[in-house]
């Protein structure tokens, strides 16, 4: 954990991780079952297209619900062993489909590449949601969002993570093939690559314009790339796609390329594992592998009262169970010792201004927090720039009063959106 420096005259600057080329990437062996999440609430009354006992092959693409387009790409060969409801943060509901792997299951779907190329635009959208590294839920085929440029990012979303940098360094060919695939499927032909300085030369081989991003957190956030690198006007409360820019991880592009050219099944994900000492290593894990399988194979002990996080130190999500699976967007698995967990207090804001000085989106956090603490979400959104926030977490990182500022902001965005949706429905 990076602490405040002795000289506190200026705001602290956090740096993204550089790629450590000396480290090798180990593969995590999957044993037992894997779990896939479908972004839809499950109830017993739903009519399903699959049932426990069904056999699936690695690379099979299947729908779960009769009345919904949601699809899964199985990353393993085995037998469906369970379909159940799963509740995420903020009341988000998922359907968890568990597949029990079979020993010696080398039987894979060899036609994956063909299926992908033949897929209609709408089903392609659903299929690609299962690709490693996908973070946007709109992916790129969305009639409402007029995307005209695609940014392939070799940067990562949080500190300590170096997945995309690793991909840019090692999978140039796949990225090139991925660009061809995207161009064919969407008709968009404006691509650029953003990489850290250290990868600028390597990235030239991709064959599209390369732009360098400083390693200062959070300059690689899609909104800041859209504004600073692409020179687009961004709008508070909207996404980068609304400004016409789709920021897509190098890992996803490489997976698309490998799938379309080599018929390689996009079933594994590069994950940065951060242990209790803050040491990192890259592993390749099958999507759906439980977090505890990853941790036990790396011999990382987790004890009662520790914290297990999917994602990085500033923006990740703490999970309450170590059987949580590695999902397509799980960039990192981080374990924090119980002794290292920062304390959160119920102090009032003392107006020191540290958050205001560090905020990359220039949100008046000191004023905003006063409205958020009192549940005045409309006022916060209208006058105090709630939706300009790009969710970097720096305000809570520097808060002297130890207020969980980022949590207040997330809650406010959620509540505001929910209230306005309910109002719109009743209108």
């Amino acid at each position: 954990m990076i602490k405040r420096s002795f000289i506190g005259l200026f705001s602290p600057v956090l740096q993204y991780e550089e790629l450590d080329t000396s480290k090798t990437v180990d593969s995590i062996k999957v044993t037992g079952a894997v779990t896939f999440f479908v972004d839809k609430k499950y109830s017993k009354k739903d009519s399903l297209l699959i049932k426990p006992g069904d056999k699936v092959k690695s690379g099979d693409i299947f729908s779960v619900f009769n009345d919904s387009e949601e699809m899964i790409i199985s990353s393993v060969t085995g037998e469906i062993s369970g379909i159940e409801a799963f509740s995420g943060n903020f009341g988000k509901e998922y359907t968890a489909v568990t597949v029990k792997t079979e020993s010696g299951g080398n039987n894979v779907n060899k036609d994956f590449g063909k299926t992908l190329k033949k897929a209609s635009k709408s089903s392609l959208n659903q299929i690609i949601k299962n690709f490693p590294g996908v973070v946007s839920d709109t992916v790129f085929v969305n009639p409402d969002k007029p995307v005209d440029s695609i940014v392939i990012t070799g940067m990562d979303s949080d500190l300590l993570i170096s997945n995309n940098k690793y991909i840019v360094k090692n999978r140039i060919k796949d990225i090139k093939a991925g660009i061809v695939f995207i161009e064919k499927m969407t008709g968009i032909n404006s691509f650029i690559t953003v990489v850290p300085e250290s990868l600028a030369v390597v990235a030239q081989d991709i064959g599209v314009p390369v732009r360098v991003v400083e390693l200062t957190y959070p300059l690689a956030s899609p909104m800041l790339i859209t504004q600073n690198i692409m020179g687009r006007k961004v709008t508070a409360g909207k996404t980068a796609e609304d400004s016409g820019v789709m920021v897509i991880n190098a890992e996803t592009v490489a997976a698309m390329g490998a799938a379309s050219v080599k018929s390689e099944i996009p079933g594994s994900k590069i994950v940065t594992v951060i242990d209790k000492n803050g040491d990192t290593r890259l592993v390749s894990a099958i999507i759906g592998t439980p977090v505890n399988t990853v941790l036990s194979q790396l011999k990382i002990d987790v004890n009662e009262g520790d914290r297990v996080i999917t994602g990085g130190p500033l923006t990740g999500t703490a999970v309450y169970s170590d059987s949580h699976p590695v999902l397509p967007d799980t960039e990192a698995i981080m374990v924090q010792d119980r002794e290292d967990i920062p304390e959160i207090l119920d102090n009032s804001c003392i107006n020191c201004g540290e958050c205001v000085r560090i905020c990359p989106a220039k949100v008046p956090v000191n004023l905003l927090i006063r409205f958020l603490e009192n549940g005045e979400y409309d006022e916060a959104a209208d006058s105090y720039d709630l939706f300009s926030c790009i969710d970097c977490g720096l305000c809570a990182y520097v808060c002297q009063a130890q207020i969980p500022v980022f949590q207040y902001i997330t809650l406010a965005k959620h509540e505001f959106t929910r209230n306005n949706t309910v109002e719109a429905e009743n209108a």
Binding site: G237, G305, A318, I350, C352, K362, P404, F406
Partner: protein, 319 residues
């Protein structure tokens, strides 16, 4: 089935830079120690008495208020002690005990707690206490009178009072070095300028107070005093006297910079500091009070929310 381990789940971020309110408050107390020690050496045991009573009663009042409002005790964060300490430093060493106790009551309860505790106070709590005492018992703050029984080896003079009552000729003998080394009368902790500057610079480097406010405040004093001096050098004292006497240095580093009552944006901090500086000199030169620092800071505290509206446009906002 194995027993499920329980993990701590909370919202991101999972890192914190380790800064604490407590650290900040204790460091500010640490920074005033040099000036405080000089004051104790100069005024002896009575000063120690005032300081001890002020700090302890400030903590006591906050604890009482915590109990009454059924909140968790906040005295551990050091803010009550800091309020008491800063308050004591602004008093003459001969302050009667009842005035000290009343003063800390006003500081802590009226200045801070009734607004909801630390962070809710629109004014600097120390100055609320000071202002009430200065208005209610004006004579207690006549430093020359208060220190009549002391025997110093230098000219016993409270420069600002002398200036006000006897004109500029009475303070001509004072040099900047004398003033900075504490060869003037005044409150317990505010006469040793070198100590205050050292403490203030330490706090600025560590990031506990903002340089923008301190620097613009001192500049505001300097420029305004200089203009007055240029306009009529027979009536008004120059910048040196104003910078190094009274509560100026103490105010610049320890009072105007109080978080809750000061702005957070860059330009507003400059305006805020400069406005206090200008107001201080206006009160000293034109107003009836000997030292304008206390009222100037309080007055500009009041304008703080409006000044702080000057802020950069947030990302992605149309207006």
């Amino acid at each position: 089935m194995h027993k499920q381990k329980k993990y701590i789940v909370s919202h991101a971020p999972f890192w914190h830079d380790g800064s604490r309110l407590t650290t900040k408050n204790y460091h500010i107390m640490l920074a005033v120690l040099i000036a405080l020690a000089a004051g104790i050496v100069k005024y002896g045991v009575p000063a120690v008495g005032v300081i001890a009573l002020s700090v302890s009663t400030a903590i006591f009042w906050e604890l009482i208020m915590n109990k009454i409002t059924s909140r968790t005790a906040t005295i551990g964060n050091g803010n009550a002690a800091l309020t008491g300490l800063l308050f004591a430093m602004m008093l003459p060493p001969t302050m009667p005990w009842w005035a000290v106790v009343t003063g800390t009551f006003v500081c802590v309860i009226i200045g801070k707690e009734i607004f909801g505790g630390l962070g809710g106070n629109p004014f600097n709590p120390v100055l609320i206490g000071m202002a009430i005492l200065m208005i209610a018992w004006k004579d207690l703050f006549d430093f020359d009178q208060a220190l009549i029984n002391y025997d110093f080896d230098y000219l016993v003079l409270y420069p600002l009072a002398a200036l006000k009552h006897f004109g500029i000729s009475s303070i001509e003998s004072l040099s900047a070095i004398d003033l900075l080394s504490g060869k003037q009368t005044g409150a317990i902790g505010t006469t040793f300028g070198f100590g205050l500057i050292l403490g203030g610079v330490y706090l600025i480097i560590r990031g506990f107070v903002r340089w923008e406010i301190s620097v613009s405040y001192l500049l505001g004093i300097f420029v305004t005093a200089f203009i007055f001096k240029s306009a009529d050098s027979a009536t008004y004292a120059g910048p040196v006297i104003h910078l190094f006497s009274g509560y100026t240095l103490f105010g610049a580093f320890f009072l105007a910079t109080e978080d809750s009552s000061s702005p957070v944006n860059f330009i507003p901090m400059l305006i805020y500091g400069a406005a206090i500086g200008i107001m201080t000199i206006l009160i000293r030169n034109i107003g009836v009070y000997v030292d304008g620092t206390v009222f100037a800071i309080l007055l500009i505290n009041l304008a703080n929310p409006i000044i702080d509206k000057i802020r950069p446009k947030a990302m992605g906002r149309a207006v």
